[in-house]
């Protein structure tokens, strides 16, 4: 069985190919800002190197973010439409889970807090604990926090990691009490980790998350009534 994993929630997008559960190859995707050609080129390269055709893929794994809108949409659309004609399976899961798996491997920490800049003065936080098999699991739900209160929601034994570490640091969004527990530098979710976690979750009988982007940023500026402001609307 061939599975392809697509992770495009950050600037460091990548694809991975698995055969019978084992990682065979990974490849980087070029800059995708408002373009999807690089991901198709990378996919063609990956499949050609494995002597495979898209029709041979029976499982499409896609990271649903949170992260770059264009990347999330491309990953999920690509997975769903490659899967559609032959009825292949689509397995979607949040992207930070791949970062949590890598951070756990690196630090052995019992809890990994994955943090991102949700813009407009908020950070999003996902706390991951691990099963006895080492499978990361999101504890509770995603939370949006004012940065100065981050320390209140992150347990003391947690290690923090982010694909936007430098950005958070530059904008003074990392509270001092949290800094000593960080993996320093930007760390990006990798398609190989995403695919490995997805395959393990599938084996454990855990269902796919909805094949929809995980948006933790407001679509447009919120006004007092909770609706996007009129300046954000573009008349058709």
């Amino acid at each position: 069985m061939i599975a392809v994993s697509i992770e495009m929630s950050t600037a460091q997008a990548s694809l991975a190919l698995f055969r019978d559960g084992a990682l065979v190859a990974t490849t980087r995707v070029g800059e995708t800002d408002r373009r999807d050609a690089p991901v198709f080129e990378a996919l063609t390269r990956l499949l050609n190197n494995a002597a495979a055709h898209p029709a041979d893929v029976s499982l499409w794994i896609a990271g649903r973010g949170p992260g770059r809108y264009t990347g999330l949409r491309a990953a999920l659309t690509l997975a769903q439409f490659f899967a559609l004609p032959g009825g292949a399976e689509v397995y979607a899961l949040n992207s930070p889970i791949a970062l949590a798996a890598a951070a756990r491997r690196e630090t052995g920490a019992p809890i990994i807090a994955v943090i991102g800049d949700a813009r407009r003065g908020r950070c999003w936080v996902g706390l991951f604990r691990f099963t006895s098999d080492g499978l990361p699991q999101l504890e509770g739900d995603w939370t949006l926090q004012i940065p100065k209160h981050l320390g209140e929601v992150i347990p003391s034994e947690a290690v923090c990691v982010s694909s936007e570490y430098e950005r958070l640091l530059a904008r003074d969004l990392l509270p001092p009490q949290c800094r000593k527990r960080w993996i320093e530098g930007d760390r990006f979710p990798e398609s190989a980790d995403l695919g490995s976690v997805a395959l393990a979750r599938r084996r454990a009988g855990i269902l796919s998350e909805p094949a929809m982007p995980l948006y933790l940023h407001a679509a447009v500026a919120l006004s007092a009534d909770g609706l996007p402001g009129p300046r954000s609307a573009e008349s058709k």
Binding site: R35, D36, F40, R73, F81, V220
Partner: protein, 349 residues
């Protein structure tokens, strides 16, 4: 039977369709996002992109199923790749590329305006001869353009374009000023029923300068209409109440319709064509259809109006472009790029 699957996501309609060559529509599935955008009085690009991602897979599958064909019977994938909202276009193009690669079928890139133009040939009882020259109007919330279709396989030539607001956009803005709902075109049409279109004199947009290379006589301008309505409502607070509302709505509708029909008549006369056509969302307007019918009858010209179900954005018109042998086949499919701003017919001789 050659079957083309079409995909359209350039703005706020998520659509898929299957057309058998040259123009038999086997299925046409459209999801309008009007409800999602209505609270904001216009299309919010980010919301449009999100809705396309959510709905497109089910809509494409439904279009295939309703056409009664298997995936293996799809002979080509056509997709709107230009112009439109970037994020919205990208969803449809990514989907189309994936299908083309998965099925090993050609990918045909279609210009949204050309799709509207060709929609006048859809429908069982189309009176137009595709080989004969035609003056065609594409009028919607996003576009207002006048074309010369030379006939046969020749490319359309742009005659005129709006210099500011599109006609539908102007109606949206006028409707907002009158306290009517979104979308404004249908709301004004309803409010105008029984009204006096001559009651409030409103400008009909005669630009003195056109776009470079275009004759101002064939160009449009609707921004003055919106301003005139704004001042009228300011000076006549009762204008948002019946019966003045009815007359004002009828006057707005007349100003837009007259501006459109005048240019169509002028172009048909100048070029000496025997066919007139109109497509796009505003082409559903009954008054516009009636006035164009009168203009065509006066000239002894054939009139082709896109069937109402193909006036608003849809994928049947996209698939029809490819099924008729137009559009641009992209090899390999991965090379197709979106072009959010791309004129049609400016470079033609």
């Amino acid at each position: 039977m050659i079957c083309i699957l079409g995909i359209e996501t350039s703005c706020d309609e998520t659509a898929a369709a299957v057309v058998a060559a040259p123009s038999r529509v086997l299925s046409n599935v459209v999801h309008s996002q009007i409800r999602e955008h209505a609270p904001y009085g216009g299309v919010v690009p980010e919301i449009a992109s999100r809705a396309h991602v959510e709905r497109l897979p089910a809509i494409v599958e439904r279009a295939r199923a309703e056409a009664g064909i298997a995936w293996g019977e799809v002979d080509g994938i056509a997709v709107t790749s230009e112009p439109g909202l970037a994020g919205a276009l990208l969803v449809g193009v990514t989907a189309a590329k994936a299908l083309a690669m998965r099925l090993d079928r050609p990918l045909i890139a279609v210009h949204h305006i050309e799709a509207h133009l060709r929609s006048v040939f859809l429908g069982e009882d189309c009176p137009l001869d595709p080989r004969a020259p035609t003056v065609a109007l594409v009028v919607s919330g996003g576009h207002t353009s006048l074309f010369h279709l030379p006939g046969g396989n020749d490319a359309p030539r742009l005659l005129g374009v709006t210099l500011d607001d599109a006609a539908g956009e102007a109606l949206d803005k006028c409707a907002q000023l009158l306290g009517l709902e979104y979308p404004g075109g249908p709301a004004i049409e309803r409010a105008a029923e029984g009204g006096d279109p001559a009651r409030v004199p409103l400008p009909r947009g005669r630009p003195s300068a056109g776009v470079e290379g275009l004759d101002p006589a064939f160009c449009f301008s609707f921004s003055g209409l919106k301003t005139a309505v704004r001042y009228f409502v300011r000076d006549h607070p009762e204008a948002r109440e019946s019966p003045l509302l009815r007359d004002l709505a009828a006057s707005c509708e007349e100003a837009v319709v007259a501006a459109l029909v005048e240019r169509v008549e002028a172009a048909a006369h100048r070029l000496g064509v025997g066919q007139i056509a109109a497509a796009g969302g505003v082409a559903r307007n009954r008054r516009l259809r009636q006035r164009l019918a009168e203009a065509a009858a006066q000239r002894g010209a054939r009139l082709g109006l896109a069937p109402p179900e193909f006036c608003t954005d849809n994928a049947a018109m996209v698939a029809a472009v490819a099924a008729a042998g137009f559009g641009r086949t992209v090899r390999p499919p991965s090379a197709l790029e979106i072009r959010p701003t791309a004129p049609l017919g400016l470079d033609a001789p």
